[in-house]
């Protein structure tokens, strides 16, 4: 893969700009103790809940709301272990990725075949603007492994860097490159065969 960073969505751009400006002007904010934990979690929730919910749904989880709620509960429990407040969002992303992967494996074991999110189906139906090529791309995305799908979603939807994807998936940067390139090669091959 090239080192060029793809265009991230607007919200991600705003977040990254805010984070980079904060990082350039002042040192990372320490974790507020005790009573301020609720306020900090409330701010995190208001800013990032919808994005994390969409991430969980795009990763194929059928219970995205439960996964994101569990991620926030785990963050609340381990709040004192954070070094800075800025580490909260990568931690939430990592928990959402792990829980979505575990949920998919669980459902695959139960149903004995690959599953796809019912929320994602509803989302696709609600959009109702997908062309045939886009629908085929979604079908191809379903056929990828969970890791490849995670890498592609984190890169092409969230626009994260490889190091951020590696932190979210708890793997090395080399593994991120491998998953991304293999996943994209598989998608390209499927789309070329379709045409």
């Amino acid at each position: 893969m090239t080192g060029i960073r793809p265009n991230p969505p607007l919200q991600t751009l705003v977040d990254s700009v805010e984070a980079s400006s904060q990082a350039a002007e002042e040192p990372p904010a320490p974790v507020p103790p005790g009573a301020d934990r609720e306020a900090a979690l409330t701010r995190l929730f208001e800013r990032h809940y919808t994005g994390l919910l969409r991430l969980a749904v795009l990763l194929g989880a059928d219970d995205g709301e439960d996964i994101v709620a569990e991620a926030f509960c785990q963050l609340h429990r381990r709040w004192n272990r954070l070094h800075t407040v800025d580490a909260a969002l990568p931690y939430l992303r990592s928990v959402v990725c792990n829980l979505a992967r575990m949920r998919l494996r669980h459902l695959q074991v139960i149903r004995r075949h690959p599953v796809w999110s019912a929320d994602l189906e509803r989302s696709a139906e609600s959009v109702a603007l997908l062309h045939d090529d886009q629908q085929a791309l979604i079908d191809a995305l379903r056929q990828l492994s969970a890791r490849q799908r995670e890498a592609l979603v984190l890169r092409y939807w969230l626009g994260l860097r490889e190091s951020e994807i590696a932190a979210a998936m708890s793997i090395s940067c080399g593994a991120v490159k491998a998953h991304t390139s293999r996943g994209m090669a598989a998608l390209t091959k499927i789309m070329q065969e379709r045409r």
Partner: protein, 110 residues
């Protein structure tokens, strides 16, 4: 029509954006999640308090049992019936045994 990786990347980005835009958060999501993490925090604290109470109760019970066992035994600190006499016997009186003790020169003591 391009079918290369660049085209696939653009299509993938577009599809993911469309799918994501169709997912909306529930209006009461914050209240639900906040209630959940507060319930878990309360449960953790109650569990910790119960464990501490159980630990102290166990320590108290063990201490009381130990004290109860030692109450009927004979005390050894202030109830010593026979004073110890482990010292060497005192020297005999000079007048009583001087005549029978041997002398270094083998003679009769003066």
């Amino acid at each position: 029509m391009t079918t290369g990786p660049a085209s696939t990347e653009d299509q993938l980005r577009e599809v993911l954006d469309k799918l994501a835009s169709g997912v909306q958060a529930a209006p009461d999501a914050y209240r639900r999640v906040q209630g959940e993490w507060r319930r878990r925090e309360r449960k953790r604290r109650i569990t910790l308090i119960v464990l501490l109470v159980l630990l102290f109760a166990f320590a108290d019970i063990v201490g009381l049992l130990a004290l109860n066992q030692y109450r009927s035994r004979q005390h050894t600190v202030f109830n010593d019936p026979v004073p110890s006499r482990s010292h060497s016997p005192a020297a005999p009186p000079r007048s009583a045994g001087l005549s029978s003790l041997p002398t270094p020169w083998g003679g009769v003591p003066l």
